[in-house]
């Protein structure tokens, strides 16, 4: 780990000022991806701005037709939240299946979304629900947020404060996990909402993406059998020592069916 300055601001404004003060300043949320990369000297920052003191960023609440999750809410809190269980049980399943208990107790939804790991679970839930990412500056629709591998619409100085999930009529999540890291080899989040059906796929490609063909099929009939004719091309999908693109393409359809079958 290279040396860095450490700040622990007590307000969002302070945090925003700190990250705008210099280049190479990084926000620290749960640190589940950032700290290993620092330890391995894969990343170097002049300062870290720890959001851990901002208690207003932690918590889950229901606001009308939305579930609002604070950016610094750990996965384990989402997995155990009564609000989430009653409104979007699939999101509780997703949060409860991230990595292992240690990561779930430290890792946060805001950190996961800011990092935008192509195999992370939350991007599927956020894009699948059509959630809105709220920052200290604006609101970003999930469809506009994920731009590529580790790439998001966040601008310098922008801090995620919360994520607003419109409560779907039904939603389900199914994932085939990578056996070492338990990231998603393929994870599919399916939601039936007033605005239509959304199917979001994580792990399979360089970035989370919507499977429009499946959405159209499920719009006609929200049932796993509607996906019978769907085939996903392996072109452009990830291939690594854990799974080939061909296998991932196959598993996208399997996980989509399972997500629909599990939808509640």
């Amino acid at each position: 780990m290279y040396d860095f300055d450490y700040h622990r601001p007590t307000s969002i404004e302070q945090a925003a000022a700190l990250i705008s003060s210099a280049d190479d300043v990084k926000l620290l949320a749960g640190g589940m991806s950032l700290l290993p990369s620092l330890k391995m000297r894969l990343a170097r920052y002049t300062a870290l701005v720890d959001l851990g003191a901002l208690k207003e960023l932690v918590g889950v609440r229901r606001e009308g037709a939305e579930v609002v999750i604070g950016a610094m809410t750990p996965h384990a809190v989402v997995a155990a939240s009564a609000e989430v269980h009653s409104a979007i049980p699939a999101l509780a399943v997703l949060a409860g299946g991230i990595a292992d208990p240690l990561v779930r107790n430290r890792g946060t939804i805001g950190g996961s979304l800011a990092h935008a790991d192509p195999a992370a679970d939350y991007p599927a839930g956020v894009l699948g629900c059509g959630a809105t990412i709220c920052t200290n500056k604006r609101r970003i629709a999930s469809d506009d947020y994920f731009l590529g591998m580790f790439e998001t619409a966040l601008q310098p100085g922008e801090i995620i404060t919360s994520v607003r999930f419109p409560v779907p009529q039904k939603a389900g999540y199914a994932k085939l996990h990578q056996q070492a890291s338990r990231f998603a080899v393929v994870g599919v989040f399916v939601a039936r909402t007033a605005a239509g059906v959304r199917v979001a796929v994580t792990g399979a490609a360089p970035s989370v993406f919507r499977l429009k063909e499946a959405e159209a099929a499920l719009a006609k009939k929200f049932d796993a059998s509607a996906l019978a004719g769907i085939a996903v091309s392996p072109d452009g999908l990830n291939s690594d020592i854990h799974a080939s693109a061909e296998y991932r393409a196959h598993c996208v359809v399997v996980m989509a069916k399972r997500a629909v079958a599990a939808a509640a």
Partner: protein, 790 residues
């Protein structure tokens, strides 16, 4: 001796004495050693699988704040450090040595502690940076400039053994360091000619690594006045490490002291001297202060000795009734970049036919070098690989020729009457009840009720499969061991022995032995194993020798103590020694109420004025013994899996094991050993692989994010049963237990997986049987185009 050995502590499930200390964070591991004035080191490692080191420029590194010194391979050469004293061909008396069939000596190459002219694998240490802190040492390492000329590399086993492969060593004829044949070619070919059935199996028991919970760490120190080095480093045994470090430093063995307390895992990866340990000692002398290094996890993946990596092509010949007639084939073991150990090839080959009646065999056995980290014996040295091959061959024969899997095994399994049995590889098994173990395991695993469970699983959309595997293991480790036992006047018994625990529970098990035979509580026995100033002789923990050797020397030493104690007690009680019996820690006089306790006797030995010379001083005895006879653990495992046919995901849902240990000293510890061993074997079968990229030679599985281990939630509760048929080649009847869990686990898990897929006509799935491999097998698809380093 058997009956005498049976008493209060032996055979009892005594809870581990050491656990309270370890689980409350009071263990003392290598990284817990901090020596006053210590500097910190990092090793600079080759990023290339094969490269000439053209130059190393350390000037900029020396200007980094905090950097004290940088030492390179050239410095090592100038200071006259010797290669690591590996003995790749070392052979136990119970084994047949392998020799090159053309009569030439096997290839060996010097393994220098720092490479100076050429790096031969990714992760090979080329320099050490010593600094005031780890961070400064890393900064210094970043500033070292090394000019490499990259050379062609080869990592895959069969590719490396090919005649046109890039050569790891220029002075070798090829990468094949040993090319031997074993068996009777004519008899084997004749048997194949008359065989009704011949089945063939080609496979690769993939490269895995130990992933010890405690990463390697060491502190080297040097005392200028005495010219003596001290190395604090965990290992399987302190004495061998001391000798090996002294050999590298080119000093007499008494100029090195090795110290270790708790050691967090070995499995063979800690069984051999490492370059870093000797370099740290040398660096301490050069820097004039102690130097400490702790491996990080990624560094462990690159630089810990690895295991397995055996490519096998084997055939089995059977007659019309299913009797085995002969076996033939070829084994190629991948030793890595230096000639550290050829033992896995030899130790596996010696029991390739397992505990089956096998009239003839003929095998070619090769070791190839490659641009990878070196391999050495890994939890059961070559045996799990060959048991896997034999048990797969039997299932394939059953599948292809229409035999029942259980009956085919039963027909060929050696009976008690046939033992001792010399197998066609010239290994002679002791006694045992192989059929009894198999029957017990089938019952424990409810083989008879499987069909019902399979049908029930089918209703849930799961494919359920069951497999069984018999096995034999060997115990051919270092044959010499020593103990020095002292009864102290303070009510404790000190046992000095040269076998260090890396988690096995020696503090408890050895205390049960000494406690039982001296009639004292387990708690009163204190074990000293990890200081070479106290422990002078000892072979360490490997090859299933710990309990086997410890029990022998502790038995003999305690007998000697009682003999001496009897003479002293007789003087104290003023009677003839023949009137005394030693019972429950007391010397009792026949026909009277008079008795005297062991600790009173040791006090008397130090105070009685008129004792003969040989009885004076604390009651103590030494046993230094050589025991060449091997005993052969055996047993049967039964495994059940469920496969998700859509994704190929597999879950072990039932696992039963019956393992014969001859005599169980502590059943609780044995069950623990078996549980861990099964996890390790199942890990290889389903999850683990050191994945070297065939094109670049890079290790792609270099962290726990990519190297999958079994976890508590991926394994079922095991049903393990201990069988006790005393071995007739060990005075106390003991067979080793530490490797039993792993040895059959590879084969039994894969047998169960393949059985689950039988309706698709699947004949085999390679290890690790990943979801994608299983999915492809179901659909009859070729392996993916991604790198495969077989």
């Amino acid at each position: 001796m058997h009956d005498a050995a049976k008493s209060t502590h032996i055979g009892q499930p005594v809870r581990r004495k050491e656990d309270q200390r370890l689980v409350t964070g009071k263990g003392k591991y290598s990284d817990d050693y901090c020596v006053p004035g210590q500097a910190h080191a990092v090793f600079l490692r080759s990023p290339h699988a094969h490269a000439m080191i053209k130059s190393i420029d350390v000037k900029a590194a020396l200007e980094v704040p905090g950097v004290i010194m940088v030492l390179t391979g050239a410095d090592r050469l100038a200071d006259g450090l010797k290669p690591l004293p590996h003995n790749p061909m070392s052979t136990h008396k119970a084994e047949t040595p392998l020799e090159n069939s053309d009569g030439t000596p096997p290839f060996t190459a010097p393994h220098y502690p720092l490479a100076h002219d050429r790096a031969r694998y990714v992760g090979e240490a080329v320099a050490i940076v010593i600094a005031e802190s780890v961070a400064a040492a890393k900064d210094g390492a970043d500033a070292v400039e090394i000019d490499y000329e990259v050379l062609p590399a080869v990592t895959a086993t069969l590719a490396a053994a090919a005649p046109d492969a890039p050569k790891v060593w220029d002075n070798a004829k090829s990468n094949v360091g040993l090319d031997a044949v074993v068996g009777d070619r004519a008899a084997t070919d004749a048997a194949f000619k008359r065989a009704k059935h011949v089945v063939k199996f080609e496979t690769w028991a993939q490269r895995v690594t130990g992933v010890t919970m405690e990463p390697r760490a060491a502190v080297g120190a040097y005392d200028r006045e005495s010219g003596r080095y001290t190395v604090y480093a965990g290992s399987g045994g302190a004495v061998k490490l001391k000798q090996d470090i002294a050999a590298v430093l080119d000093v007499p063995a008494d100029k090195v002291r090795v110290l270790m307390d708790d050691v967090g895992g070995n499995f063979g990866t800690r069984g051999e001297v490492y370059p870093e340990f000797a370099v740290l000692a040398w660096a301490a002398r050069r820097a004039g202060r102690p130097v400490k290094w702790t491996s990080e996890r990624q560094e462990s993946f690159l630089s810990d000795y690895q295991g397995r990596d055996l490519a096998v092509s084997a055939e089995l010949a059977l007659d019309a009734d299913g009797n085995f007639l002969a076996m033939r084939g070829s084994n190629v073991s991948n030793a890595g970049a230096h000639t550290v150990s050829y033992a896995p090839l030899k130790k596996g080959l010696g029991i390739m036919s397992s505990i089956y009646r096998m009239p003839a065999v003929f095998f070619r056995a090769r070791v190839t070098l490659s641009n990878t980290m070196m391999t050495r014996p890994y939890r059961s040295a070559g045996r799990p690989e060959v048991m896997y091959v034999m048990e797969r061959l039997i299932d394939i024969a059953a599948f292809e020729c229409g035999f029942d899997r259980v009956e085919l095994r039963r027909r060929n399994l050696l009976t008690e009457a046939e033992l001792p049995y010399t197998n066609p590889f010239h290994m002679t098994y002791d006694n045992g009840d192989y059929h009894g173990a198999m029957d017990a395991a089938l019952k424990l695993g409810d083989w008879a009720g499987f069909a019902q469970r399979r049908d029930e699983a089918k209703k849930r959309g799961r494919l359920r499969g069951i497999g069984l595997a018999n096995y034999v293991d060997t115990s051919t480790g270092a044959p010499r061991e020593r103990t020095d036992i002292t009864v102290r006047a303070d009510g404790t018994v000190e046992v000095v022995i040269g076998i260090v625990s890396q988690g096995q529970g020696h503090e408890t098990a050895y205390a049960q032995l000494a406690g039982d035979w001296l009639g004292v509580p387990v708690e009163s026995v204190q074990l000293i194993t990890g200081d070479t100033d106290i422990v002078k002789v000892g072979g360490g923990a490997h090859g299933g020798r710990g309990m086997r050797m410890a029990s022998l020397v502790i038995w003999n030493a305690t007998r000697e103590i009682i003999k001496k104690g009897t003479r002293i007690a007789a003087r104290m009680l003023e009677c003839d020694p023949s009137m005394l019996k030693f019972v429950g820690g007391r010397f009792e006089q026949d026909g009277s109420e008079k008795s005297v306790g062991l600790f009173e006797v040791t006090k008397a030995a130090q105070t009685l004025a008129d004792l003969p010379e040989d009885l004076r001083g604390p009651l103590a005895a030494t046993c230094d013994q050589v025991h060449h006879e091997a005993s052969f653990p055996y047993g049967t495992h039964v495994c059940e899996v469920e496969v998700d046919p859509e994704t190929g995901s597999v879950q072990i849902v039932n696992y039963a094991a019956v393992d014969d240990v001859g005599r169980a000293i502590n059943p609780l510890l044995i069950h623990g050993q078996v549980h861990g061993g099964i996890a390790q074997g199942a890990g290889q079968a389903l999850y683990e692989q050191c994945f070297y990229d065939a094109a670049s030679g890079q290790l792609l599985s270099g962290s726990l994010m990519d190297y999958a281990l079994p976890r508590a939630d991926t394994l079922p509760f095991f049903k393990t049963e201990i069988s006790e048929v005393p071995s007739n080649t060990h005075p106390l009847g003991i067979r080793p237990a530490g490797e039993s869990g792993t040895t059959p686990a590879l084969g039994v898990v894969i047998n169960a997986v393949v059985d689950a897929l039988s309706e698709f006509g699947v004949k085999h799935v390679e290890m690790p049987a990943t979801p994608e491999r299983i999915w492809r097998a179901i659909h009859g698809m070729a392996p993916p185009a991604s790198p495969n380093n077989r």
